[in-house]
């Protein structure tokens, strides 16, 4: 059942992005940042975690989950450390993803050369 819910939610998020891309003047970059911000807003209002609880990877894999993680981290550390926590918290929750992106990009660039 969880697999089905993940498939449904993840697929619907991607479908929404594709519909926007095909029917608007927005570029992939616009859609990417739009979904990150939307995930952040939904996370701040507490909805995104409920979606994750229901759909698992269907909600955590799309980029909106990154926006959610940024806001969640900021809110958590803001409670402990005040205003500075808003800044540091964002990267506590997302550091694994960001570092992985940099490290894998680095090794990919070292190992592979473009062909076409």
């Amino acid at each position: 059942m969880m697999y089905f819910k993940a498939f449904l939610v993840g697929g619907l998020i991607c479908l929404l992005a594709q519909v926007i891309l095909d029917n608007s003047k927005y570029s992939p970059g616009h859609v990417l940042s739009g979904f990150t911000v939307a995930g952040g807003i939904l996370g701040g209002l507490g909805f995104y975690d409920r979606l994750i609880a229901w759909a698992g990877a269907g909600a955590t894999v799309p980029i909106s989950s990154f926006g959610n993680a940024l806001v969640k981290g900021a809110l958590q550390e803001a409670g402990d450390r005040g205003l500075v926590g808003v800044l540091t918290g964002m990267f506590h929750t997302t550091s694994a993803g960001i570092t992985a992106a940099i490290v894998f990009a680095f090794f990919t660039a070292v190992v592979f050369n473009p062909k076409s």
């Binding site: 095909d22 062909k115 076409s116």
Partner: protein
């Protein structure tokens, strides 16, 4: 003093029409698989072409095309055999042309007309020759899919989705030796286009941005020369592709011009849209260059086309202007070629 060879507002009649003495086209792997693949003088197996970068590969194509054309004309790449090298491309500071000029020991004019460069270079060469300022001029232009995509749109690695009406930048180069005399197709008229802005902002929708410019130049050419569409066996635009071509037919009809079967577009001719994933069709300086140098001029030599109007179209955007939300102005230059 009245310029005696000017016709109307935008056209020049060449008193002693210069000849296209030799021409050559080289193309990338995707163009080789297209319907005109067998027409190109040389094709490359991959986009790197044995070079260290895509930019160097683009330059290699331009140089190969120039050397092939010179070889066919029986000339060497030096003065006095060639008086001028006139070339342009799509990269910043037209590096493909300037770096190629470095290896050719010929006085050089660099042009930037985006994808209209082929006709712009032929226009400049024709006027230089007809004016008595040169005997032989080498014209060349090129584009490369990977260099143009990263310059004008997104980094290649980004893999952003392309819109259904987007065009595919042609990988290829064309070169022509234009001479004062000798056998071969002759350039009889030059119509210089005006920059036109119809408010298009989407860098993927270049066909729509360029179609009005193409129609404007075709209209100017016909009214300046007193000719009609039927006087030509072929009117061919550079890289409007399928959607741009349809738009050009519509815009021409609004101005009372019926562009029927006589009208074709290099961006449509270069790929097989049913088998190749190119969306609307081809674009880039190389598009009109390889179709003209590889196919159309050969068709003229085979006697299948006697008179054609070549209209190369250029979208004059820079990444900075479109990121700042400015419109995409466009231009089209035309040359009439006859056998």
């Amino acid at each position: 003093m009245v310029a005696k060879n000017r016709l109307g507002l935008q056209t020049v009649r060449l008193e002693h029409p210069p000849t296209i003495k030799a021409h050559a086209a080289v193309a990338g792997p995707m163009e080789a698989q297209g319907p005109l693949g067998h027409e190109f003088d040389h094709t490359y197996a991959d986009l790197m072409m044995g070079q260290q970068s895509f930019e160097k590969a683009e330059r290699l194509m331009l140089k190969d095309a120039c050397h092939l054309a010179l070889e066919r004309a029986g000339l060497s790449a030096t003065t006095p055999e060639i008086d001028y090298f006139v070339a342009g491309d799509l990269l910043n500071q037209i590096i493909s042309s300037t770096f190629s000029a470095l290896s050719l020991s010929i006085p050089f004019f660099g042009l930037y007309g985006a994808c209209s460069t082929l006709c712009e270079s032929l226009s400049v060469a024709s006027v230089l020759i007809d004016g008595g300022y040169a005997d032989r001029v080498l014209c060349a232009t090129c584009s490369h899919n990977a260099t143009a995509e990263r310059q004008y749109r997104y980094p290649n690695e980004y893999g952003g989705q392309r819109k259904p009406y987007a065009q595919w930048t042609v990988t290829g180069a064309g070169a022509l030796v234009v001479a004062a005399e000798g056998p071969g197709p002759r350039i009889t008229h030059v119509t210089t286009g005006k920059v036109i802005d119809m408010g298009i902002k989407d860098p993927f929708d270049q066909g729509a941005a360029m179609a009005p410019a193409a129609v404007d130049t075709i209209y100017a050419h016909l009214s300046d020369t007193g000719r009609c569409v039927d006087d030509y066996d072929l009117i061919v635009t550079g890289d409007l592709a399928r959607f741009g071509r349809e738009m050009a037919v519509k815009l021409a009809a609004e101005r009372g011009l019926s562009l029927g079967e006589t009208y074709k577009d290099c961006g449509v001719l270069v790929y097989d849209n049913t088998k190749q994933d190119v969306h609307s069709g081809g674009s880039g300086c190389g598009c009109s260059a390889i179709v003209t140098c590889g196919h159309l001029l050969k068709e003229m030599e085979r006697g299948k086309i006697r008179r054609m109007l070549l209209v190369a179209t250029g979208a004059l955007l820079s990444p900075t202007t479109f990121q700042q939300g400015e419109n995409i102005p466009a231009i089209a230059h035309a040359v009439a070629i006859e056998v």
